[in-house]
């Protein structure tokens, strides 16, 4: 890397401009925008203030040098768009967004429609907006986020300044977000949502309900086709499933952000295999992207039960299955576990005083409370299976028995619980590793073969 880098980087590139300096300097958002303009995709023009320049200004006052550089870029942006900054008539306004090298969604400030004032007032507004974004790096929630994710405080954020496109402009306008493959299942094909007559923040505030992307495919197949083509190019370039934010302004599509899409573990398997089959990544790379999940061995399930063997049903408090003797309190839990017997702690609702017994138990069963009950929160934390809210189960602490479905079981009797299926059965029911669906298992086997093949050929 050059010893001295320009504090700003324009996109699309101007003639003679050096290539994009990469994610560390441009931030994730800026690097994505530079990539998309390089692919010839429709991106509103703008420029990135690099993380390096940002670090020199994180206290929040821009130096005269940076102000001059920003002014030069804004002038160029105005020429490119044929509009004017800080002047009425064909007014240019910009969005000012953060962009750290590591994604910190929603943690840093974003300001839209900056530059509504006349003349110098618009520049004052722009400087203040850039300063606000830089200062948000040291805001409480951003600091908390980085500490929890073990992210470096020192990287700082880049700032993306971009000509505003307006999803509320009238005509056919709106804003949306899409995944290039289904983030839940990994199935091919665009999945996403679109909110007509709206801007980006409207999509996440939950006040209005967006339409599924399929609605856009029906209403405007031309725009949907443009999105499909862009999605394919982005997947090829990034060699991964992508999440893309876009806006339509008076019939015209603009792409505002691209990043690797978040996905479930299941979807990750299918996407890795499909990308390899499509030739976007190697088989060894696909295997590398899907390490064996740490929890697979621990998570168990009991076989499907005929109704007549079901003691009661409840709510899924904490996943996995367990078999053990009924213990109605701490003393019983301690007595049975001292003998080496596993116990299922059975309580109406768990109180803090039950925490020591929960720590001894192989499973927890409650008759009150739902999936957010204290019992369920603690069981998930302990990694102990839990069925909660089994309202049909009666606990008789005087006679030390439980009753359900016409059965009466004394304390010490063996029961089986499945915290995923939320079912309770009398007696011992075999538990088996929950390896997911058959198809997931097939994909895992295939990836394991690819991992071995990759290791022997390389």
């Amino acid at each position: 890397m050059a010893a001295v880098t320009s504090p700003v980087h324009a996109f699309p590139a101007v003639p003679g401009q050096p290539p994009g300096p990469g994610r560390a300097l441009l931030g994730g958002k800026g690097a994505g925008l530079v990539l998309m303009t390089g692919l010839g995709l429709p991106v509103p023009p703008g420029f990135v203030i690099t993380t390096e320049a940002g670090r020199r200004h994180h206290a929040g006052t821009l130096s005269p040098e940076l102000r001059a550089a920003v002014r030069a870029e804004v002038d160029r942006l105005a020429r490119r768009t044929g509009r004017r900054f800080g002047e009425p008539g064909s007014r240019l306004t910009v969005s000012v967004r953060s962009g750290a090298p590591e994604s910190m969604p929603g943690m840093l400030d974003t300001l839209l429609d900056v530059g509504r004032g006349d003349g110098e007032a618009a520049f004052t507004e722009l400087h203040a907006a850039i300063e606000a974004v830089l200062r948000s790096w040291d805001g409480e929630r951003a600091v908390t986020y980085r500490r929890l994710r073990s992210l470096d405080d020192a990287t700082g954020t880049a700032v993306v300044v971009q000509a505003m496109v307006d999803g509320t402009a009238g005509g056919f306008s709106g804003t949306g977000v899409l995944f290039t493959r289904d983030p839940a299942t990994g199935a091919p094909g665009l999945v996403g949502e679109f909110l007509p007559g709206a801007r980006g923040p409207d999509l996440v505030d939950g006040v209005r309900t967006p339409e599924p992307l399929a609605t856009l495919a029906t209403a405007r197949p031309d725009l949907h086709d443009d999105l499909s083509r862009a999605a394919e190019r982005l997947e090829r370039s990034l060699a991964d499933m992508c999440e893309v934010e876009f806006t339509v302004e008076r019939d015209r599509l603009w792409l505002l952000q691209v990043r690797s899409g978040k996905r479930t573990e299941r979807a990750g398997l299918r996407i890795a295999v499909d990308l390899a089959e499509e030739g976007l990544i190697s088989r060894a790379e696909a295997a590398r992207r899907c390490p064996e999940p740490a929890g697979t061995d621990g998570l168990t399930t009991i076989a499907a039960l005929p109704d007549d063997q079901t003691l009661c049903r409840g709510l899924p408090g904490s996943p996995g299955a367990a078999v053990g003797r009924i213990a109605l309190d701490l003393d019983a839990a301690e007595a049975y576990t001292d003998r080496g017997d596993a116990v299922i702690l059975v309580r109406a609702a768990t109180q803090p005083a039950d925490l020591p017994a929960m720590a001894l138990a192989a499973g927890v069963l409650t008759t009150a409370g739902g999936t957010t009950s204290h019992a369920a929160v603690v069981a998930r934390e302990l990694g102990v299976p839990c069925v909660c809210g089994a309202v049909a189960l009666e606990i008789d602490l005087d006679r030390r028995v439980v009753r359900a479905a016409g059965h009466e079981l004394a304390e010490g009797a063996v029961i089986s619980i499945d915290g995923t299926a939320a079912v309770v059965a009398a007696g011992t029911h075999a538990t088996a590793a929950d390896a997911g669906t058959g198809r997931d298992l097939d994909l895992r086997r295939l990836l394991a073969q690819w991992a071995t093949a990759g290791a022997t050929t390389s």
């Binding site: 986020y145 803090p352 009150a368 934390e381 302990l382």
Partner: protein, 189 residues
């Protein structure tokens, strides 16, 4: 202080002297002799199995119920209890959401925690105005929140002593006991 210490032992189920003292804002050196007296009176006992610490006896539980009833302590208005019931539901949903995404904390989650914290502090202050021992919950919740903000992911729902959810559970049980309420459906589980 005797009632407060017995109350803390009943709420915690099993607890060492230091934990009981911390929960009641009493110095450990002062709490020790009083806990010994309570044990002498047969109201608590020291467990020495795999789980060690002070535990209430059945007589201790009965005595605490009687003391709470007889001492006729000041109680905050029903509105305060209702405020707790509402914020309790929001907090437990927040815990479940956090457990689903951890350690990827979101801005939305930290904002929700800040809002929940502000609301529960008001509840704690209203109880503390009636019964000063409740102030300890405010201090303990503040400390857990600071640890979470300081980057300790276990400080929110973790099972170690003093996590936000752990302190919250004790506060919940204490509120129900103080108001002499059996745990009903509207109180949450």
């Amino acid at each position: 202080m005797r009632t407060a210490l017995l109350n803390a032992v009943v709420i915690k189920g099993v607890a060492e002297t230091a934990a009981v003292a911390d929960a009641t804002d009493v110095a450990a050196g002062e709490a020790g002799p009083v806990l010994a007296e309570l044990a002498e009176a047969g109201l608590i006992r020291y467990r020495s199995g795999r789980l060690t610490g002070w535990s209430p006896t059945p007589e201790g539980r009965t005595e605490l119920t009687r003391l709470i009833h007889e001492e006729c302590l000041d109680r905050p208005s029903e509105d305060v209890h209702q405020a707790f019931v509402t914020v309790n539901a929001d907090f437990k949903q927040l815990c479940a959401d956090w457990q689903a995404v951890r350690p990827s904390v979101t801005a939305e989650l930290t904002d929700r925690l800040a809002a929940v914290h502000g609301r529960v502090r008001q509840v704690v202050e209203a109880f503390a105005a009636a019964q000063p021992r409740f102030a300890a919950y405010g201090r303990r919740l503040d400390a857990a929140r600071e640890r979470f903000a300081g980057g300790d992911p276990d400080a929110l729902t973790g099972i170690r002593a003093g996590s936000y959810h752990g302190v919250w559970m004790e506060l919940h049980a204490d509120i129900l006991a103080t108001l002499e309420r059996a745990r009903g459906a509207q109180d949450g589980a």
